[in-house]
Symmetry: C2
Subunit: 340 residues, 2 copies
């Protein structure tokens, strides 16, 4: 398996990215192709005593920053490591692409250069997020601010396939993020999506209130990208608030400091368990080949984890299954129309 990695994406590029690739190669044995300025990569590796002679390099002279407008990946930044990496993915040079760079540019670039799977209306960011027991996929968490019901139906289908194949959850429960559990709840988008999701051959359990998302919820939570992003970031904000308050208590006085010494390890374990960063980022679902968005703040370990997950994404042939399921639905729809 060959995984192309954007060596110049993210806050800690290129050093931490290359280090992460080194770790992934040593640990999982994947072939790694680094996309980025070859001279700079070699210089950094030399300075840091990093061995990369067993990795390919695709030379790309430019890079796209977090501040660049997404559309620039097709224009002034068409020679960036991200654009060149995505082009090589499209050309079949590698099996998947990982980047910790500009999210908007990755959506635009993956859509326009690597292209969506046939029949997919929109690609979606789909992070795996820990909940009370296990974890769930939140799809879409921010690629599309404005969605139609048919898109949400596809998000549900793609999420279900990913959770079953990669996360090994049998018959994953798919829920629609909504303001009440009853079928008639929510705005027009939710009502229409509810209907379409019910008719999609997946294990659709209906609406899930936001209160239940971190508790029992579902294995896949379907949302438009606006709502999904609110959920994702509030998750993070609330964890930050509560751990902050807890920390205040534990350092308040001698008594609470003693308590802290007794539970510090457990608290740390819990914090790690709740931290959605543990998964290294989010697959971009719906593209013709696996694309994975690692966190902008990725360190070497994050990149290693992102590459491992991307490996599973490739190995389990998720894109092929999505493509087959959507095609099958389309044929059935056409048959239905013909019979009418």
């Amino acid at each position: 398996m060959k995984i192309i990695v954007d060596a110049f994406g993210g806050d800690n590029a290129p050093l931490e990215i290359i280090k992460g690739c080194r770790m992934a190669k040593d640990e999982y044995g994947f072939q790694i192709i680094l996309a980025g300025n070859e001279k700079k990569i070699k210089k950094v590796c030399e300075e840091n005593n990093l061995k990369t002679d067993d990795m390919e390099i695709i030379d790309a002279l430019d890079n796209i920053s977090m501040e660049d407008e997404p559309g620039e990946i097709l224009k002034s930044k068409s020679q960036s490591s991200m654009a060149v990496g995505l082009q090589n993915l499209a050309d079949g040079v590698g099996d998947a692409f990982v980047s910790a760079g500009n999210s908007g540019a990755l959506v635009t670039g993956a859509t326009m250069i690597t292209k969506r799977l046939k029949g997919v209306l929109r690609c979606a960011f789909a992070p795996i997020i820990p909940k009370n027991k296990g974890s769930f996929m939140l799809i879409d968490s921010g690629a599309n601010s404005q969605c139609r019901a048919e898109m949400l139906r596809q998000f549900g289908i793609m999420g279900s396939i990913y959770m079953e194949k990669v996360m090994k959850i049998k018959n994953p429960k798919v829920g629609l993020a909504n303001v009440g559990v009853e079928e008639h709840k929510g705005d027009i988008l939710r009502k229409e999506s509810y209907k379409l999701l019910s008719e999609s051959g997946i294990n659709f359990i209906g609406n899930v209130e936001a209160r239940d998302i971190p508790l029992e919820g579902a294995d896949v939570i379907v949302a438009d990208g606006f709502t999904g992003n609110i959920i994702l970031k509030l998750y993070e904000g609330m964890a930050s608030l509560l751990f902050g308050k807890f920390k205040e208590i534990l350092s308040k006085n001698l008594k609470t400091k003693l308590a802290a010494s007794l539970i510090l390890k457990d608290i740390k374990d819990m914090k790690n368990q709740i931290d959605y960063n543990q998964y290294g980022g989010a697959p971009l679902m719906g593209i013709s080949k696996p694309v994975f968005k690692a966190h902008g703040s990725s360190t070497a370990v994050t990149i290693k984890n992102a590459i491992r997950l991307t490996g599973d994404y490739v190995k389990e042939n998720v894109t092929k299954t999505i493509s087959e399921v959507l095609e099958d639905m389309n044929i059935k729809k056409q048959d239905g129309n013909e019979q009418n």
Copy 2:
């Protein structure tokens, strides 16, 4: 000041409601008018040795349940305690109305029976929610699933007035819940709302990402009712998840149980501080007279707190100020149009 209270709204009606009224009367000296079946009220009071002879009762034979369709308040449930209470509020029998009953029915009833303030497009639920330091108003938290930008502008104005007058925050910061801080972020509704809020003469600080809502955020968070409801309930769900996990740790073994004994009081204090239920419910903003929605699960103390907050809502003349500000804006708009 006369406050009408729906004696038959909420899971614990009528006993806990009447008890709460008793406490509020004794503590704050408000005149209380109970709306509900007089016979039943008297029977409950007798059985529980509750003194209510210093409260008026408005007889209402029926009541509306949590399962009733909101619209029924105008039809089959027009003689319910909620409908009769709202009618008496409209007729000037009392200065405000408090109910722990069916939220949807309260929105419909308040809008159709008591009526909105002139110029207000939609009323909105606006709970006060604790954050890292202090608290914020979330407006709308669920009265309107589908909103236009002009409504969000009014939510911002109403929230700003309430926080200044009732919560005594000078020049409250108003933020728009969005997926990024930059002006161009979000869907069409957000982009249009951003523009209108900027031109509203309030202290609009721009977009607030969901991550920052529980941390620094703003004093007023403006959202459509769908997004607001997701925020409100995820707040609750995350608090539940994290306190649940803390609890697991603290009862894990002898060592952590010892730690628990040292910090239990602090944890409880923190839990109370974070609990948005401490405020007893949410004002329904935009109605011609103060209407307050207490939590469905209200106990006597919740009702007492709800009545106290409602008293402030009346005393500070919030509805009059909202009405004046909106009228003033309208005049300026007309002047502007005439000049063009």
